[in-house]
Symmetry: C2
Subunit: 189 residues, 2 copies
């Protein structure tokens, strides 16, 4: 596996199909990881994301303080870990240790990135205090993006290896896998 | 098939898994329909949604004027129509006639709803002018929600009939179907 840089104009393709995400954060020596289903692209180039980050979470505290976060796409192989980090608070436990998550350094943000994901986005918050405070809604620019070259090939997801499939959260510990491709004949790409 | 009312507190489940959506709108005798991949839940009860509505679209003009829109989940059977209404402008053609879309009246908004979808949400915009203008980002309350009782059973999607499966947009005319269920053992619902 190699991590390849994703063209900014193609970065939206990493999560256009609505998979569950992981959100990493760091500030002042503290670090955390949580799951977020409510994350989506909002622009092409420069790429941006919208993510809902609940006001009661440690992640929110670290993102508010640092103005940065990592946004990652876990594969099916990380489904249990995704449920785990989404069910417990980083105020109570070290979720990286608890769930055996290995990290590596991002290129432009201080939050760590998680090994075993199939895509990684480095995000800097574009401050929008009104919607942050009213709706826990964060807008961010994606300043760097990376993908696993076994699963994201020529700017398209390819899920030949079932363990690399992305997953979509339903509720609790229940997901749908990303399923088969469906092409509408005659439509332009 | 029957359309059943969805409990407000469960409405987020209709699109928590990130399927493509259709957005209907109406104002002053004009009506339109478009596709939107960038739509997601942002709260549980009362349920809300975030949707990106490009400033250059007729939909935007009608939503700005009416403060309302329909947000629908098309099934695989409507994939070609979803691409069609997402590729053409309602300023140029009557997309309902062009793509053979039948509609029915919503209960609390004036925009029509599309037959053949598997879920329908009636949305009223919660005005947030700053992010509407900067990012084309709309926050809305979902004031009523409905689902096809063949596909949404006991507050869960069930895709036994492949034609009722929801779809996730990649780009152009390319989608992923919602795939198989995956349950993490021991996780709470």
């Amino acid at each position: 596996m190699a991590r390849i840089a994703v063209d900014p104009a193609r970065t939206y393709l990493l999560f256009n199909h609505g998979p569950v995400t992981l959100v990493s954060s760091a500030h002042g020596g503290r670090v955390n990881i949580m799951a977020a289903s409510w994350a989506m692209p909002l622009d092409f180039d420069p790429p941006k994301a919208v993510v809902i980050i609940d006001r009661n979470t440690l992640t929110r505290e670290l993102v508010d303080a640092s103005g940065e976060f990592g946004l990652m796409i876990p594969s099916r192989a990380l489904a249990a870990e995704t449920v785990g980090v989404g069910s417990q608070s980083g105020r109570d436990i070290d979720k990286f240790a608890q769930f055996g998550l290995n990290t590596f350094a991002a290129s432009k943000i201080s939050a760590p990135l998680i090994e075993g994901c199939v895509a990684w986005m480095e995000c800097k918050v574009l401050p929008e205090r009104a919607v942050e405070q009213r709706y826990d809604l964060f807008v961010a620019e994606i300043v760097a993006a990376w993908a696993d070259d076994r699963a994201f090939v020529n700017n398209r997801w390819r899920f030949d290896d079932p363990d690399l499939r992305t997953i979509h959260h339903v509720a609790g510990g229940s997901f749908f896998e990303t399923g088969e491709s469906l092409a509408v004949p005659g439509a332009e790409d």
